[in-house]
Amino acid sequence: MFGSTSDTILEIDNVTKSFGQVAALKGMRLKVRRGRVHTLLGENGAGKSTLMKILAGVHEATSGEIALDGRPYQPRNPQDAAALGLAIVFQELSLCSNLTVAENILATREPRRFGFINDKELVVRARAIVADLGLPIDVSEKVGNLSIAQRQLVEIAKGLSHEAKVVILDEPTSSLSDSEAEILFDIIARLKSRGVAVIYISHRMEEIMRLSDDITVIRDGEYVSTHDRDDVTIETLIALMVGRRMDEIYPPAAHEQKPDATPVLSVDDLTRDGEFENISFDIRPGEILGFFGLVGSGRSEVMNALFGMRAATGTVRFEGQPVRFRSPAEAIARGIGFVTENRKEEGLVLSHSVGWNISMAALSDFTGPLGFTRSRAERTAAAQEVGRLAIKTHSLDTPSGSLSGGNQQKIVLAKWLLTRPKVLILDEPTRGVDVGAKFEIYKIIRQLAAEGTAILLISSELPEVLGMSDRVVVMHEGVIGATLSGAELNPETIMAHATGFKS
């Protein structure tokens, strides 16, 4: 029944997968050919990762058939899958931070002598793997001491550390900056030339168009269509994916900037040893100030200091008054909101309901005189935010952890909107979010700015920063390289400052 040509390496037919009552995949199919990059495109929660986990032997398909190299393929666990010639880089970082890079890369495959682990050989082998891929990583370092981007590279090294016929990359670039992504693209090119099939998942359209040979669109766990890259445009793909047309990705500004308005926040010489130095900028109501830099340039650290999470020297003025927040509570009380970079760790309480998460930062507004929660007012307000941001949730009582990534991100946004912030910090607000949801989030950002909220937008995606910001602060290794506006806002200038080629 698998009438595959010798060109086809992997064929998926009519695969379904349910988690309890949730049907993540319904009759999925896919045909992957040797030596080609096959991209899976779909909204958050479409079922991409689920399909990959089935291939990797983490999950078992509820029904359906898979053939690898013409033979039925049914891995019982990840080791099985690896032995059968499959390599996978998982979307969630699956590393152990208390072990070294080498120990992580070769986990469960440690070189042994007389049954004992040969630590020297372990390091040698890991180093060879890393060198072969051209990754700039010290294999003796503990993973816990690496930046997120470096961890992503280790994850890639771990996934690609053995010979494979099919390589799966699930959103490998979501926390990589362009230069690191280039390393990955080189690796992919080499894999291709060796005849390896690559299954690629990403939400970044530019990158998809550049890398892919074939593109398969899936929606709500179902197969939609497969295309040759040369036969489609980004617009068509997005329309297929979200089920409607989208004319623009970055909505235009709806109001005029007033450059002479008094700044709501001014930062002077903010310094924290070893992380950032002499950070100075100010921002006016209604302004969107972009923060660009390579991953690790220290932007998040600056924002954490501003928000009262960490101590730093220097002066911060809020509405003209000098302030020094010792805790987020104080920052929030003055009107600062912070959509953090990692929604699962710092943003959401996954086990609790959508409603509780949305009211979380504004809880004192919904507290009566005796400390009782005014739950009716709370629910009304939360429901309003759910409506305004078009959050797709069954009800306010649904656990937030069961929502798709993009909707989770919107909950975090809603949480901060409810505090009516005067300054809103957005740290990578669209990481891992599909195009449709991205557009929704951009619209909200524009709307907030129009209402007078000052917005600090941190992003590692250059088009996003360019498309949304009024001015851009470029950071490089903990210092501000330049603050750009107007005609200076072009990719070349920004990249030059970000990489430190110009100062």
Binding site: G20, F307, M309, S327, P328, A329, A331, I332, A333, F338, T340, E345, E346, G347, L348, V349, L350, S351, H352, W356, M360, A361, L363, S364, F366, T367, L370, G371, F372, T373, K415
Partner: protein, 320 residues
């Protein structure tokens, strides 16, 4: 919605939420009634409630602590210290009210120490409270050199022996404390903060919750609850025993966990804990009534805990 259908809905919700554990409680009661007709009597239920009071109240405090993802193993020792502090106050000539106030204050202080060490010095609460368990237990024996201390105050001892409006005072105390804790946890912002912090500490900090202060307050609640348990216990026994409350922390934890409180934090209710405590109380009482030898009681108790938790886990999985 009409009043009635609202009640009905609430009942169904409770059944769904506490189904697994309620089932265990009902099953135990049925089995014991079947084996001993005297089990099913008002007097005996009063007995059970009184016997379970000390553990139940400590378990209310423990529920808060576990909700935060922490643990308090010093509860049993605080129970003993509280009785001894009370006894010493009377020996010193104080009256009932100041003695009670000092006892509860002592509980709050001991809880505060646990909280400060956990929240400020960032030591794991398990090890902090293992250590203070020893420290507080050692302290109990200091005033009397290990001997029990008689309590001669009649108001204090009346708590454990007298009735009010036909119900033993102890039962009133449990009922009031249950309500206070239940309302505090489910209806106030303080309770909400505990749930959120237990669910994700990092997210709570970023959302402006003062996690350290919350943690210290909650360890203080646990300390005060344990102190009240100590008051009840010593009033029931007319004396402060230096080995009072030994290993009651495990019963309190078992009650909370039986009631659905997750040791990972973020999940739990006072209603569940009360049911959990009742299961333990019914089990102890029922087996005594049947003259089950002590060793078998230990075994059966362990088995019942396992079965009840398993039923509960299963019920929750099925709900998903």
């Amino acid at each position: 919605m009409t009043q009635q259908s609202e009640l009905q809905a609430a009942f169904l919700r409770a059944l769904k939420q506490y189904g697994g554990i309620l089932l265990s409680l009902v099953m135990l009661c049925v089995i014991f009634s079947f084996l001993n007709p005297r089990f099913m009597s008002v007097v005996n239920f009063m007995n059970i409630l009184q016997q379970v009071a000390v553990v139940a109240i400590a378990a209310f405090g423990m529920t808060w602590v576990i909700l935060l993802g922490e643990i308090d193993l010093s509860v049993g020792s605080i129970i003993a210290v509280a009785g001894m502090v009370g006894a010493q106050c009377f020996a010193f000539g104080l009256g009932f009210a100041p003695a009670l106030a000092i006892t509860l204050l002592a509980g709050a202080l001991m809880g505060m120490l646990n909280g400060v060490l956990t929240a400020k010095l960032l030591l794991p609460s398990f090890i902090v409270t293992v250590a203070t368990m020893g420290i507080y237990r050692g302290m109990v024996s200091l005033p009397t050199n290990g001997a029990p201390a008689m309590i001669e105050n009649s108001t204090w001892t009346a708590i454990g022996t007298e009735s009010f409006l036909g119900l033993p005072i102890i039962i009133w105390v449990v009922a009031v404390l249950f309500l206070v804790n239940h309302i505090l946890l489910s209806k106030t912002s303080f309770g909400r903060r505990a749930y959120l912090t237990g669910g994700n500490r990092e997210a709570a900090v970023y959302s402006g919750i003062k996690v350290d202060r919350l943690k210290i307050t909650i360890f203080m609640i646990s300390g005060v609850m344990a102190a009240i348990s100590g008051v009840l216990l010593s009033s029931r026994l007319f004396s402060a025993q230096t080995n009072a409350g030994m290993s009651y922390e495990l019963d309190a934890i078992a009650a909370a966990v039986l009631g659905g409180t997750s040791l990972a934090g973020g999940v739990g209710t006072m209603v569940g804990t009360l049911i959990g405590a009742l299961i333990i109380g019914v089990m102890n009482n029922g087996m005594n009534m049947l003259s089950v030898p002590y060793f078998y009681q230990l075994i059966v108790k362990g088995l019942v805990i396992l079965i009840a938790v398993w039923l509960d886990v299963r019920a929750k999985q099925a709900k998903r």
